[in-house]
Amino acid sequence: MRPFGYSRPSSVSNAILEVREFLAADPQSSLSFLAGGTTLLDLMKLDVVRPERIIDLNALRDELGYTRSDGSALRLGAFARMADVAADAEVIANYPVIAQSLSLAASAQLRNMASLGGNVLQRTRCPYFRDPSWSACNKRVPGSGCAAVQGANRAHAVLGTSDHCIATYPGDFAQALVALDASIVIAGPRGNRTIPFDSLHRRPDGNPHLETSLQPGEIIAEFIVPARSWMRRSLYLKIRDRQSYEFAVAAAAVALDLDGGMVRDARIALGGVAAVPWRAREAEDALRGQPLTEAVARTAARLAFAEARPQSHNAYKIELGQSTLVRALLQASSMELRP
């Protein structure tokens, strides 16, 4: 870990003021925000990221640590702890996919520390990204290449990758947000803006180091999930190599609006298999107006992976990802909802 400047502003507006001053003084220097610290501190100790200035946002928890719901939307402050939101009765009852995506992530200790905003920005677990002695990593050093393509890539992505990066987006919560058409409120030096959550993460394409559409100095302030009564029929299915404290090898966030046995509407996002939180719209389209049988679910799952591109060690994810989605859809369709 290298020396860095540190400050702890007391409010969002003070934080933005500090950002403005800092960027004005030296637009090229690197700035990191600190929330729960469960990703940033690890990567600093590994010498992967070397911020010159840390702005600790933990004082914003009072302002932005809420979970609240009105008739039209669920609003989650970006500094709410994962554990608190996962345990919220309203979230559990009406947005089970959100509660499950949070409670199946990480460990109890990490969920007690990690913030929602930090969680969606969690960096990839690609071992070649996390070890700076590998010179080739386009995410870490733009233009340096990708060591994973010829390396151990059992855990890597099959959807949304490029020749420049095959890293998997590691999180879970983001799949629930993508599936439920969430949006985020961003605070920044040039004021607040609201964007659809699924425009936050950028596919690697030719610039894997540009992971999100956040501009320098911008802070995620809030998540907004539109309220729909059928979100109660939703779940997060996470398949992994051990039962807990482990990243997904394949995961599916699904929500179903059923009319008798027929699908009126469906929301599907995939995790553990893609470079970014992955909305599977083709699969959703294939379900609409159909009865939710295993055959229909299989057809939808095939469409979801139609563009999948395997690497040397991860071809199994294409079949496993489909099976995971099929199982998630069948499980969601058979959920018993209290009236």
Binding site: P127, G151, D241, Q243, A250, L320, S323, R327
Partner: protein, 732 residues
């Protein structure tokens, strides 16, 4: 839930007394070696090689030296010949490998220490280590594993076993199995990292280091530093897990010692988790070939077991457990072969059940394949091949309770309800499978000494340079002395883990209790003789002590293990007390044996593999403390599940590096993976193995579990899986 959380006192078992040091551990009062605070400590941080083979051409230390707080940087250029060569234990020396620390510019493996930064703080040392520039000379890609064209296989002729005429018997047999198996590299990953603190006081060096053998560190370090061993004291009063990784002297200790000498201050090193993957030895990957031939009734006619084990170029290390797998079942025609395959990797070493885990996996999976082919219950297959004498040398087992273990475990498991056909025990979306396997571990012991002091007020102090690895050494030592002298255990105190104490065997090979308990008993005998109460039961020691008018009696005793020559006693005083026994004795074989039963569930759609139940039964002679023994056994069984489904050190072939060298990516089971686990201690008496009648339980719990899991996966899915670990993609 754990069905035997408070194990019952059974036949030939001592009392399940709670841990001697339990309170100190849970309150944080216990001081592990890295917890010891020394005055004016400086901190060390390793910089390790990032190539798998080659040379260091140049260092750029300018940026590192400029980090505020940096005191010294050790490289092969700055320390010259300050550290001398000491041979590895495989050549009769003390070290876990034969690489001289910072010995030259040559890089022999990825992760080799190439520089050590000493600084005022850990953070400064780490930052400076990150800023060290190393230019490597031109180098060709290393041989990373057995498949590399550059890897060199070598048959280990002394390990070959030939009985009868295997080829003829195999050719003529009606039923045959011919299969190849593999197991991956694995690392012990004890919770406590590899730490070393060194402090020079006058000409004397004190080392605080977690160790399974303080005297190997003391004597080996003395050779490396060229000083009198009596000037070195190694202290290791608590060890936060070892599992073979802390068995012998590693390169780090001399580096910290000379750093402390150079700067005239204590120096502390705590290697990172990643660095720990190459600080010590590990379980090397194996390939194995098993051929079995049997009569229609299941009796074995021919057995061949050949293994290939990866090793470093510098050291030929092989666990070679065909010496055991060829001696478990009656069979007239046997071949055993072991090969070492040298590659550009660090030297492997011992990891809990070092040879027994991989070789047991192959043999016991092959036996299950045979039972399927015969359409015979796998338990019955073991029964028809049970024996009282081992088939290689014709030597008798000192005791053998294998089938009793199978019968008790089968009953507890409910094995009679198993339907034989693979895939026949489905539960909704889950495919259920049941499998079993034998567990075995050689019974060993080494020379040890102990000192016991009895005071007039009825207090007892026991001391011996054994080691508390979490297995219950303090408790065992206190318990044996309390029983021998007839005092309440609360009146007994214990000293261990200190090279200034009477020497004891390395705490490895499940031999610590079998070695140290007899020495304590011998010292207690001497006290009783002094009091004139002879070898009779301990009642009356207290009264005799009062009547004698003496304030203190202190006795020292040393014991020599069966099978060791007289000269070996001198070796004990030179840090070379290694255990023997098992299959190495001229007159008999000694094994602890057991049976493992496992239930797995494999999801029909998404293929996750989970162990929902495990029952093991083990017969290991006298159990001194059923509570700590039970902890070792279920801990071992969890290791077995882990070796079957989780653990796998991944090697990147391009630079022979370990790319999952952290506890997020190197998978171990978490609590949620361990659902229902039961260890049954089958009463067994064996007066031959050693005076305490103890066979040891540190490792046997691991053995056979991976085979039982693989056999259960076959039963669930019809897929025969011969390569560990078994993962989702293998059952799709």
């Amino acid at each position: 839930m754990n069905k035997t959380l408070f194990p019952q006192h059974g036949a030939n078992m001592g009392q399940p007394v709670p841990r001697y040091e339990g309170r100190a551990k849970v309150t944080g009062e216990a001081r592990y070696p890295s917890d010891v605070r020394l005055p004016r400590t400086a901190y060390a941080y390793l910089h390790i090689s990032r190539i798998g083979r080659g040379t260091v051409q140049a260092f750029d230390l300018a940026a590192a030296s400029a980090v505020p707080g940096v005191i010294d940087i050790l490289t092969h250029e700055t320390i010259g010949d300050q550290i001398k060569q000491t041979p590895a234990i495989y050549q009769g020396g003390y070290a876990s490998d034969s690489f001289r620390p910072l010995g030259s510019a040559e890089i022999a493996y990825w992760g080799q220490p190439v520089a050590v930064v000493i600084a005022e703080t850990y953070e400064a040392a780490r930052e400076a280590a990150h800023r060290i520039g190393v230019t490597y000379g031109p180098h060709s890609p290393p041989a990373a594993d057995m498949d590399s064209p550059d890897a060199v296989a070598q048959a280990l002729v002394p390990m070959a076993i030939d009985v009868g005429d295997f080829d003829a018997a195999y050719a003529a047999a009606p039923i045959k199995i011919d299969a190849r198996y593999s197991t991956p590299a694995q690392h012990q990953n004890p919770m406590e990292l590899f730490a070393t603190q060194c402090m020079w006081e006058g000409g004397r060096l004190v080392v605080h280091e977690p160790s399974q053998y303080v005297n190997s560190v003391k004597f080996g370090l003395a050779e490396q530093l060229g000083i009198d061993p009596e000037r070195i004291r190694v202290i290791s009063t608590y060890v936060g897990g070892a599992f073979g990784a802390k068995g012998f002297l590693t390169q780090r200790t001399a580096l910290v010692a000379i750093a402390a000498r150079r700067i005239g201050r204590p120096v502390k090193l705590v290697a990172t988790r990643e660095q720990g993957f190459t600080v010590s030895g590990y379980r090397a990957e194996t390939r194995q070939h098993v051929q079995l031939a049997a009569e229609q009734d299941g009796r074995l006619i021919a057995l061949k077991h050949e293994g290939w084990e990866l090793t470093s170029r510098a050291d030929t290390v092989a666990m070679g457990a065909v010496s055991m797998t060829t001696r478990l079942y009656a069979c007239a025609n046997i071949v055993g072969r072991v090969n070492a395959v040298s590659a550009d990797r660090s030297t492997p070493g011992f990891m809990r059940a070092p040879g027994e885990m991989p070789y047991g996996f192959a043999l016991e999976t092959a036996l299950d394949e045979l039972s399927s082919k015969l359409d015979m219950d796998p338990v019955e297959l073991r029964r028809v091949n049970d024996t009282r004498t081992e088939p290689v040398g014709g030597l008798p087992y000192t005791s053998r309770s294998l089938m009793r273990c199978f019968d008790e475990a089968a009953a507890a498991f409910g094995w009679q309800d198993r339907t034989r056909q693979p895939g026949s025990m489905r539960d909704g979306d889950w495919l259920v499978g049941w499998g079993c396997a034998s567990a075995f571990y050689p019974t060993q012991a080494g020379n040890s000494a102990a000192r016991v002091r009895l005071t007039a007020d009825g207090r007892v102090h026991v001391s011996s340079a054994g080691h508390e690895l979490g297995q219950g050494m303090y408790t065992m030592m206190a318990q044996v002395a309390a029983e021998e002298l007839g005092v309440p255990i609360e009146r007994v105190t214990v000293s261990l883990g200190d090279s200034d104490l009477p020497p004891a065997v390395v705490s490895g090979g499940s031999a610590a209790t079998a070695s140290v308990a007899p020495a304590i008993m011998a010292a207690c005998d001497a006290i009783r003789r002094r009091l004139g109460v002879g070898n009779s039961p301990p009642a009356g020691v207290r009264a005799a002590m009062e009547a004698s008018g003496m304030g203190v009696i202190e006795e020292f005793a040393e014991t020599r293990a069966h099978g060791l020559p007289l000269e070996s006693v001198r070796d004990m005083y030179r840090g070379k007390a290694l255990p023997t026994g098992g299959v190495s004795l001229p007159d008999r074989v000694q094994f602890a044996l057991g049976a493992q039963f496992v239930e797995v569930r494999v999801h029909a759609l998404t293929h996750e593999i989970r162990v929902s139940r495990a029952v093991g039964a083990f017969a290991a002679g006298r159990i001194i403390n059923p509570r700590t023994a039970h902890g070792q056994l279920i801990g071992g069984m969890i290791w077995g599940i882990s070796s079957a489904l989780h653990e796998h050190t991944e090697v990147d072939g391009r630079n022979a590096s370990y790319i999952n060298a952290n506890l997020a990516d190197y998978l171990l089971p978490v609590n949620a993976d361990i659902v229902d686990i039961q260890a049954i201690m089958v009463p067994e008496e064996d007066k031959l193995v050693n005076r305490a009648g103890v066979k040891g339980v540190g490792e046997i719990g691991v053995v056979g579990v991976a085979a039982a899991v693989s056999n259960a996966v076959f039963h669930a899915t019809g897929r025969r899986l011969r390569d560990l670990p078994i993962r989702i993609e293998h059952v799709m």
